[in-house]
């Protein structure tokens, strides 16, 4: 197998595993479909924006949760934002944590919220690493003269 075929095989397998393990869902596929010659870096741009936004929201939530009296409405509104964004890009695991997070906000459960926040951090780091590997593979394929097919 030549280098290009090997890389393409690697990409396909890697992408399949991300779906299988629930890191991303169909909405991520939708995102990839939006990328074309007129916006070749669309997925990477949106994903970068998401990670920046996620970090900001997590920092804000941590501050609010540290207070003597926690404003759970504020936490909830941040979770709502994060749930929306993660859902929009297909970040399934993060979205799922947000669903649990919301119930803890509604129950005004600080411990539960803090646990969810930790989970969000964990999933954020994992997804970031995974998508960076994905983008690296794609770059290598393009460098080797191939094109990156949209996921079926």
């Amino acid at each position: 197998m030549d280098v290009l075929s090997q890389l393409q095989r690697q990409l396909a397998d890697f992408l399949a595993s991300l779906y299988r393990e629930g890191f991303v869902d169909d909405q991520f596929t939708q995102l990839q479909k939006l990328q074309d010659e007129s916006s070749p870096d669309f997925v990477m741009e949106v994903v970068s924006l998401f990670f920046e936004d996620c970090e900001k929201l997590v920092n804000n939530m941590a501050k609010v949760l540290e207070q003597q009296v926690v404003d759970f409405k504020q936490v909830d509104s941040h979770v709502h934002q994060l749930k929306g964004s993660s859902s929009s890009i297909g970040a399934a695991r993060i979205r799922n944590v947000c669903i649990a997070f919301k119930t803890f906000c509604e129950a005004q459960n600080r411990e539960g919220c803090l646990r969810c926040l930790q989970q969000v951090n964990h999933e954020h780091a994992q997804l970031k690493a995974n998508l960076q590997s994905l983008f690296t593979l794609e770059r290598q394929i393009v460098a080797a003269g191939g094109t990156v097919p949209a996921m079926q």
């Binding site: 939708q30 479909k33 939006l34 074309d36 916006s39 949106v46 924006l49 936004d53 749930k83 929306g84």
Partner: protein
């Protein structure tokens, strides 16, 4: 906000081959997504991050600016998120329908939550359609077809 100020070319005698859509959403990622989806469906897109900015663009704001009528006559569709801080999508819808200059412009409401009472409330207030987030390309194609009088 970016907005097209070039005149639309009349192609084949068609009414707005490139409809101008005003998309309102407080979430940056969702704004980027809806913009891409709409552009892929041959729409000109202006985005606004909240109801107030949207109304200003449409000429209903507190500040009077020149070329307001240009903006109004060029917007063929308004698509707005429901859950926004300050003015909700529903409140924005009401303001638009109460305005003699704007009430003819079709308004579509988007939401990540499927709540029948919410949907009915919006439809009763005059929303043309209600769409569930996250939006896909097929949703926007359907939207374009329904609202732009395209015959297939």
């Amino acid at each position: 906000m970016d907005g097209g100020s070039m005149e639309d070319a009349m192609v084949g005698g068609g009414y707005t081959d490139e409809p101008h859509v005003l998309a309102v959403d407080d979430n940056l990622i969702d704004r980027k997504l809806v913009e891409r989806l709409l552009k892929n469906s041959s729409c000109k897109v202006t985005t606004a991050e909240n109801g107030l900015r949207a109304l200003e663009y449409l000429g209903l704001g507190d500040e009077k600016r020149t070329a307001l009528e240009d903006n109004v006559s060029k917007v063929n569709l308004i698509i707005t998120d429901y859950c926004m801080p300050g003015m909700t999508g529903y409140e924005l819808l009401k303001k638009i329908k109460e305005s003699s200059s704007l009430k003819e412009i079709p308004v579509v409401i988007m939401s990540s939550e499927n709540i029948p009472t919410r949907i009915n409330k919006c439809l009763e207030e005059g929303a043309q359609m209600f769409m569930l987030k996250p939006l896909k390309q097929s949703d926007v194609a359907k939207l374009r077809c329904n609202l732009m009088n395209c015959r297939s």
